[in-house]
């Protein structure tokens, strides 16, 4: 209750994996981001549709060994500040 829903801004996003990190070009902002796990995984999980943190955690745990709910909130905050994710 009261947890925000997050939506990945997936319009026109280009992802290029480099050694261990992911480059993301986000066309709506013209900005380039260099992100490390679990950020790319979070974005991928949100591609399936908007989710609140609990649902997001479920999706991530279905595919990876994922620790710590705290990490989710911190990463979501960062992704939101960067504009790659917004609240719905």
């Amino acid at each position: 209750m009261g947890d925000p829903i997050y939506i990945a801004d997936s319009r026109d996003v280009r992802s290029v994996p480099l050694d261990g990190l992911t480059l993301i070009y986000h066309a709506p902002s013209g900005m380039t981001h260099i992100v490390a796990p679990p950020a790319p995984e979070i974005l991928e999980a949100l591609d399936a549709g908007p989710a609140d943190p609990a649902e997001l955690l479920r999706r991530l745990r279905a595919r990876f060994e994922f620790e710590g709910e705290d990490a989710i909130h911190a990463r979501l905050e960062e992704l939101e500040a960067s504009g790659l994710v917004r609240r719905g």
Binding site: R14, L18, G30, M31, T32
Partner: protein, 288 residues
Amino acid sequence: MKEILNLQIGPVAFRIGSAWRAPIEALAKLYEGYPAPAGGIADFTVRLEPEKPWRRFVRPSVAIRGDYILPDAAPLPLSLGLLAAEMGMNLQMALGQKNWLLLHAASVEKDGRALILTGESGAGKSTLSALLGERGWRLMGDEFALLDLDSGMLLPFPRAVSLKNGAITVMEAEAGAARFGPRLVGTPKGDIRHLRPNDEAIARMGEGAMPALILFPRFGPAAAVRGVGQAETFMRLTQASTNYVALGEPGFNALTRLVRGVPALAIDYPDTATAVGLVEDFRQELAA
């Protein structure tokens, strides 16, 4: 503007106007042999003008202006007018150039393969590239490297090499006296002397080359070489580019293509002779 000079350098045409004759004369002499822009049309305009009208004659002070301006840039004394002109050209490139991805890097070419030398200021890139330019390599540029967004080719931008302090002595032993500009003393960075690239570099200023190696040179106690990862290379190159952000997706594509296709090495070197040796080793490995 009282005095004017038009210069073609690589693919870029400059129009330089000055309220005083001396800087234009020095610039024309330094860039002897460079072509004039076709049709007289310039990509960028540089203006050397007095900060205030009376500063044209009294303690003459050169404000560096042009199409693109840094509002709080400090003027230079007239004795450094040549430096002002060079800085003016740098400014137009850094703020206005958006045709190619602009890297703050030196570049040299041999056998159709281009080396990009980039990294922090003072790491000796200018000197190293100038030296290689006298050792069988073609100097493509010591300040800016231009990456073509579509082809991925590196384009030459052979400005006069800006040598500082000790590097001046090194290069005076290597290149003919006629190619040097005057020794400028009392600049914010110490002594500066400009060196005109050799005839081959000038004649071939329209010829690009595919990048084959990215080098991050740095002074160190002993020669050392280490590979640099793609992500780190990408990040360092965006920091070395004044226009990466301005180019949007084409810039992203060009830079990712570069870092994924071209290896990057960080080299430590105690002296330029060692550095030149290292570069020759790399070249042979690349050719093999």
